[in-house]
């Protein structure tokens, strides 16, 4: 005989509303992305009339130059911002979940430092050897990222049997080590300094359709895998042992999300550089708006992250035209006050 509970006839309807909430958020988010993208297509060094933009989107025949600007520059850049914003926010939210730490971001487990070191080595080699390596930079970055993923995984395994603190400490240590090496490279560099700094601050200006094709699959497939772990992440929020008692293999969950998340991040930052802050604050803002249930929170923060990054990038490329400022600076300048405002409001 099994311990059963008498079923009450009526269930409080508010209990089931996460699906409604999710659908509503997906709708709002998608429309938001569409609206913001169309609006941001208007901004740029060359001004193109909105009417013309619309006709260019439907049939790209009218004006060759403008068509090129819209189809080869602005649209790829916006799509890149969507992919990067969504991926960084999803992974940030998932990492906060597995580490049970609201201060975690997608870069905390070291993968970004590896990518950065890889990219900086690539840039340094280009300047010292004279070979043109710019188009291979993503490969350098991705290799660096995978190297750091391996190091973090191995060192967390040695020390703490993959508890969250073990993984966190290993990530922080590798971050420090690689950042120090990057600093050495920066200190030794001369003319290549500007390229390195731009890479470190994030840059969407090199977006093109090829890059989009390459990162779409890891970003989308990876994020779907993360979404499928939502209930397990909810359980982990109650505590390590609580999750075990609920049948969640927390060690495996953590490693799975660490590896999937890191691969997503590696493939994104290899092309965009280190766009900071998005992956930290967007999950928080989303939690304040829709609650902490990962089933709603993760997909919603993907969409919000996309909107946030399109706006930041448009800002970055237009605020002092024709000069661009690094997008990583914009995300922090815009995001930090917004974040503090929301936190204050919640506590009142």
């Amino acid at each position: 005989m099994k311990f059963s509970i008498n079923k009450s006839p009526k269930v409080i309807t508010s209990y089931i509303n996460w699906r409604k909430k999710l659908i509503l958020m997906l709708l709002i988010g998608s429309l938001g992305i569409l609206g913001v993208s169309l609006a941001c297509l208007n901004f740029g060094v060359v001004s193109i009339h909105p009417k013309e933009i619309f006709s260019l989107i439907w049939n790209s025949s009218s004006d060759k130059t403008n068509s090129l600007i819209i189809w080869q520059l602005r649209i790829p850049r916006i799509i890149m911002a969507i992919l990067a914003g969504a991926a960084l926010s999803t992974v940030g939210g998932a990492f906060q979940g597995i580490l049970r730490n609201p201060l975690a971001d997608p870069y905390i487990l070291g993968v970004s430092a590896g990518a950065a070191l890889g990219a900086c080595i690539g840039i340094a080699l280009q300047y010292t050897t004279g070979y043109y390596l710019a188009s291979f930079l993503p490969l350098f970055a991705f290799t660096g990222a995978m190297f750091s993923l391996y190091l973090v995984y191995m060192s967390s395994k040695i020390s703490y049997t993959l508890e969250s603190t073990g993984l966190l400490l290993a990530g922080v240590a590798i971050n420090f080590l690689f950042s120090a090496l990057i600093t050495v490279l920066l200190a030794l560099s001369k003319s290549e300094l500007h390229s390195m700094i731009f890479w470190l601050m994030g840059d969407l200006s090199t977006a093109n359709w090829n890059k989009i094709t390459i990162i779409t699959i890891p970003a989308i497939v990876g994020s779907l895998f993360l979404f499928l772990s939502s209930l397990d992440l909810n359980a982990l929020s109650l505590g390590e042992e609580e999750a075990l008692h609920l049948g969640v293999d927390t060690g495996k969950l953590r490693i799975r999300i660490f590896i999937i998340g890191s691969i997503i991040i590696a493939s994104i930052v290899s092309f965009t550089g280190l766009i900071g802050f998005v992956g930290l604050i967007v999950p928080h803002i989303t939690r304040l708006l829709v609650g902490p249930d990962h089933r709603v929170m993760l997909p919603t923060s993907a969409l919000f992250g996309a909107i946030f990054l399109i706006l930041c990038d448009t800002f970055a490329r237009t605020i002092i035209t024709p000069t661009e400022i690094p997008i990583g600076a914009v995300t922090a300048i815009v995001g930090a006050p917004l974040f503090i405002y929301l936190l204050r409001r919640r506590n009142v």
């Binding site: 508010s14 109650l238 249930d293």
Partner: protein, 261 residues
């Protein structure tokens, strides 16, 4: 309901955290369906460790453990979660979940990740909240309710997991007197009417004496005495384990021993 079917049987279990000093040694006991087995003993005697061994979080170095005639050591934690649920001593929830969401997480072992939950999962969660009188807390932020309220929510969560064996770790520590006894009544009802079995760690010897059918008295990782409250709570045993001479009186109605220090 007669106490008959053995739910859990533990034989000669040894456990140590670091390999040299044994935290538990030669632990043997069994629990039958419908029974409430209390675990008492001084701080550091291994009460919580024993609970963690039973819940499958810690693996013993030696010994046999049978859960409903299956070897507990070979069961996956996914399987164990369908038999055993646990109310921990202290809880800390990372994000600001609502109380009803916390209770619903108790249904996790039964929910397919791809298909999602059913209406029944919500009904069971809600009924568990009704039983533990935590329904009025449904919409409240779990981080912002009192310790006692949170404990009731976590008991509801453990009941929503529909276990056969419920493990409690000082579950009354934050509860007010009225909830303490209501929770006790609720659990006793679940024992007799629904065939639940409970193993509970008690800090409060008097509550342990009132609530439990049998008691295990632990002393530095060994079972000093196992038996009914009358058999375990006597002057000789308590003085040996706790090192002070207690005064024992009989509860005026329940006729179980009560300790006055």
């Amino acid at each position: 309901m007669s106490i008959s079917e053995t739910i859990l049987k533990i034989e000669n279990v040894d456990f140590s955290y670091n390999g040299n000093q044994k935290t538990l040694s030669k632990i043997s006991f069994s629990v039958s369906r419908g029974e409430l087995l209390g675990i008492i003993g001084p701080n550091g005697s291994g009460k919580t460790t024993l609970l963690k061994i039973v819940s499958g979080i810690l693996k013993p170095n030696k010994g046999n453990m049978l859960l409903l005639n299956q070897n507990l050591n070979n069961l996956s934690i996914e399987k164990i979660a369908k038999f055993i649920s646990v109310v921990p001593q202290d809880t800390w929830v990372t994000f600001s979940f609502k109380a009803k969401e916390v209770v619903f997480i108790g249904r996790l072992p039964y929910i397919s990740r791809l298909k999602g939950e059913t209406l029944e999962d919500y009904q069971i969660s809600q009924e568990a909240m009704v039983k533990t009188q935590s329904l009025p807390l449904s919409e409240k932020n779990i981080q912002k309710i009192s310790g006692g309220e949170r404990q009731r929510v976590f008991i509801a969560k453990a009941l929503a997991q529909t276990p056969q064996l419920l493990l409690l770790d000082e579950f009354t520590s934050h509860l007010d007197l009225n909830y303490k006894y209501e929770m006790l009544n609720l659990l006793k009802k679940a024992l007799t009417e629904e065939g639940l079995t409970i193993i509970s760690v008690f800090h409060d010897l008097n509550l342990a004496s009132i609530a439990s059918h049998r008691l295990i008295l632990l002393n530095v990782g060994k079972i000093e005495k196992i038996g009914t409250p009358q058999e375990v709570l006597n002057e000789e045993n308590l003085q040996k384990v706790y090192g002070v001479k207690p005064i024992l009186i009989d509860h005026p109605y329940l006729k179980v021993p009560q300790v006055i220090m």
